[in-house]
Symmetry: C2
Subunit: 303 residues, 2 copies
């Protein structure tokens, strides 16, 4: 009899799963010159799911890295650190990439470099968040809060594919994916996205994304509240119990991310997907926990 | 010495202000055939700030209206109730209009009718929400969660004007209005809205909207958190202390509305603005409190 896999419902269960599976990913950290990054890296290494390779200043190599026995590669500038950390992924010496104390633009430029970057040609780069909201009974996956301004059909399809893969990695056998819109009507004239939603739903029903249930356009309440769904008298396989939300554009995705972190005490983890290895790309002001959970998420999905 | 006016910071203060000012608005209620609408109307009438005119079935007129001594006008169908209630506003026999147990489309059709409706020619119709979030220290005004899919420059300007007027009615002398976007950069190519934001900011500085501070594009965190603003090293007159948020489009506005009501235990009030009288247009599934607060909001801003 096959072992029943247990669905991961919060971040402590995620870390427990990584331990149970003996996951330990080589993680290149670009320019870990601030206390927050160092604290998150230290905790992830203590939990055992990453083995850090710090691409850092000489001072940090001798001090922080030396104290903890972490591997280090010296860089003189943030730019050089970004290039060297990306190089480690490209040469398959690292399984995960993390941004430290440097501007996002600097790291993205190294990632997207056509000659020595790590985004394969014709591959869609997108941003996926996993959030635990105190008012929701399980994790909520969503995309895209940070990268794609207005997804094309191809980008949208890859967003769904990535999100479904993430849910499977969290041992959700048949994730419920809701295509978010302000109402449940397909209205090609005012809202061109809703037409592509109808196509995606069909593709999903035909098995294009593996085991999952896809529906939309649906609004957030109908997607995440069985009561709201029943009040609206909508019949949807999502059942007011969505695992994942696909947002129409970056305005909506970014706003949701910021609303739940600012006003709902949400815990979040996030990575870039599409690159040769998952990239942890925290914002200034993200908590240490958020960085730690993002490292855990990246470690789980890294191949 | 003029009396110092006290800023309204939550809905109980709003209701207290209405009492203090002896506000009592004649409120036409279209088809109040459900318990939720009736309960909200009864409570608002008991608080004293509305005098209801129920456009209802014969049964409701004899039962509910009779029991409470409310004025009533008989209608045979929801459509007739919508037309008659709109007619009361048009004939200046009602100061506020409220939707009862009928489809939004039915009431909107009567409101927007070119011959006998109540939207003056060339007037912008928009939806304004006031929310009290447990995690924010004051009321938050925002637009547009429900009506305008993608605001034109003219519509955007009126949104700002209405919101500033609302804030003034809540005795906020110099409201801070944030033009919301996913980042603080003006980027006309990817995000055409951000260019119109820059224009609005200039108009605001030149006094086009009366006493207020307008800035944007700004993201939600920078707008509502002094800490986030300082981490990002942004210098904005909003100071992480926004009173009002202007959202780029209906996708963003609607999502924010639903996120805060579903996941942040927000209390909300909302009205349509632009019509000859404010319109309370609750959604199915809105709480009795939300309907009551919306009536209070409409009563305050009705002229």
């Amino acid at each position: 009899m096959p072992e029943q896999k247990k669905t991961i419902k919060d971040f402590s269960q995620l870390i427990a799963l990584l331990k149970e599976k003996n996951v330990c990913k080589r993680t290149a950290v670009a320019w870990p010159e601030d206390a927050h990054t160092q604290e998150a890296v230290t905790r992830a290494a203590q939990e055992g799911f990453i083995s850090p390779i710090l691409v850092c200043s000489e001072e940090t190599a001798e001090g922080y890295a030396g104290r903890h026995g972490f591997q280090s590669v010296i860089a003189r500038t943030p730019e050089e650190a970004a290039q060297k950390a990306v190089g480690l992924v490209r040469e398959k010496q690292a399984d995960v990439l993390m941004k430290g104390f440097l501007n996002t633009d600097v790291l993205l430029r190294a990632i997207l470099d056509k000659e020595v970057g790590i985004l394969p040609k014709d591959t869609v780069l997108t941003h996926i968040t996993v959030a635990k909201l105190p008012e929701y009974h399980k994790l909520l996956f969503f995309t895209d809060a940070a990268v794609i301004p207005a997804p094309t059909d191809k980008q949208r399809r890859e967003q769904v594919r990535y999100v479904v893969d993430f849910c499977h990695a969290f041992q959700i056998d048949c994730p419920r994916v809701s295509l978010i819109h302000c109402s449940e009507k397909v209205d090609e004239r005012h809202f061109p996205y809703t037409a592509s939603y109808a196509t995606l739903r069909e593709e999903g029903e035909n098995g294009a994304f593996g085991s999952c249930l896809i529906d939309g356009p649906l609004d957030l309440k109908t997607s995440c509240s069985p009561e709201a769904m029943s009040v609206k008298r909508i019949d949807s396989p999502i059942g007011g119990d969505a695992d994942a939300l696909i947002f129409p554009d970056i305005e909506a995705g970014n706003l949701f991310y910021k609303a739940v972190t600012l006003f709902c005490r949400a815990e979040t983890a996030a990575v870039l997907q599409g690159t040769m290895a998952p990239v942890v790309l925290p914002s200034r002001g993200d908590t240490v926990e958020s960085k730690l959970y993002s490292l855990a998420l990246a470690s789980l999905i890294s191949r």
